[in-house]
């Protein structure tokens, strides 16, 4: 195992940021991947915090679900990889 492996986290680590973006608790919300159709709770997604911005990937197919880049007090959110998101 490399050190890199430990920089790969999951959606639990971004619960605060998701709350900030969506205005409610989201780690238990179910996301559907727009690429492969798999459904997973946000806590189960694969999360990279060390990329420029936060990158959230599908645990089934590794496609990008969501990218969040913070600039000062604003969050720039790309949700193109998510087909559906249900609280």
């Amino acid at each position: 195992m490399t050190a890199l492996d430990e920089s790969v986290l999951d959606g639990n680590a971004i619960g605060g940021m998701l709350f900030e973006v969506f205005g409610s608790e989201m780690t238990a919300a179910v996301a559907t991947c727009a690429t492969c159709g798999a459904s997973m709770q946000m806590a189960e997604t694969v999360v990279y915090l060390r990329a420029p911005g936060t990158v959230v990937r599908c645990r089934s197919c590794a496609a990008v679900l969501m990218v969040v880049v913070r600039r000062h007090t604003q969050n720039c959110v790309d949700l193109q990889g998510i087909a559906a998101l249900e609280p």
């Binding site: 430990e6 986290l9 999951d10 959606g11 639990n12 619960g15 605060g16």
Partner: protein
């Protein structure tokens, strides 16, 4: 800046350090006084934000170590290259103030409402922190839910909450495995958590147990795959990964 917390919203607020306790050489427990705390569920997190004099901020998420109703407590492991954990474990003193927001999380939680389902908790290193909240919550509720905790640590001195875990309540079994160093005469398990130890410790798949796995990412991947291999449905294995970037 932090203001008055509004219920149902997540706002930064100022907390005061009420107590600090060293758990191991690199792990410290911090008890906080949070005036506007809305109450938490066992297993939830909070975010800590540190601001440097030049305005640079760093945020990290930490599992809450205390049960619902108890003073808000976090247990922090010092990461040598960390931005936040060295401050929390070495500099922070009683009476100091820090910014935090929470509680956060609705997935890796145990409410205690279901007392019939047997729980398997598998911890790697400081992954034991949310389980301390669950174990204390179980005790405070007087719950009879069957608990098993399988805890992998490098050595006995690296075991966090050892005194508390060694006084486990009825219905709670605590099993250690020591991966790097064992004391003379150690008769417990050694080495990393593998298929054999999981098969020995986990509730048989037919008992419809619920598993919570928390630890470094490679640990969680191995254990979760092992449990699925034993017949646990993937949705009955809740996982939480941490690492140098996310802190814990």
């Amino acid at each position: 800046m932090a203001g008055t917390a509004v219920r149902g919203r997540l706002t930064w607020q100022v907390a005061t350090v009420d107590a600090v306790m060293d758990e191991t050489g690199s792990v410290r427990t911090i008890v906080l006084n949070v005036p506007d705390w809305a109450g938490h569920t066992a297993g939830q997190h909070l975010d800590v934000r540190l601001t440097a004099e030049d305005g640079y901020t760093a945020e990290r998420s930490y599992s809450i170590a205390s049960a619902p109703g108890e003073p808000v407590t976090v247990t922090v492991e010092r990461l040598e290259d960390g931005e936040v954990s060295p401050y929390l474990t070495e500099e922070l003193r009683v009476g100091d103030q820090i910014e935090l927001r929470g509680p956060i999380g609705g997935y890796f939680v145990w409410t205690g409402a279901d007392a019939a389902t047997p729980l398997l908790l598998v911890a790697g290193g400081s992954g034991v922190v949310p389980f301390r909240s669950m174990l204390r919550h179980r005790r405070n509720l007087g719950s009879k839910a069957p608990f098993r905790l399988l805890y992998s640590a490098r050595s006995l001195p690296d075991v966090i909450y050892r005194t508390e875990l060694d006084e486990a309540d009825d219905g709670v079994a605590v099993v250690y495995t020591l991966t790097r160093q064992q004391p003379p005469g150690w008769t417990g398990h050694t080495g990393r958590v593998g298929a054999e130890l999981l098969a020995e410790t986990a509730w048989p798949a037919g008992q419809d147990g619920l598993a919570y796995v928390c630890g470094p990412t490679p640990f969680v991947e191995t254990v979760a795959a092992g449990l699925v291999g034993l017949g646990y449905p993937a949705h009955r294995v809740k996982t939480e990964r941490y690492g140098g970037a996310g802190g814990k």
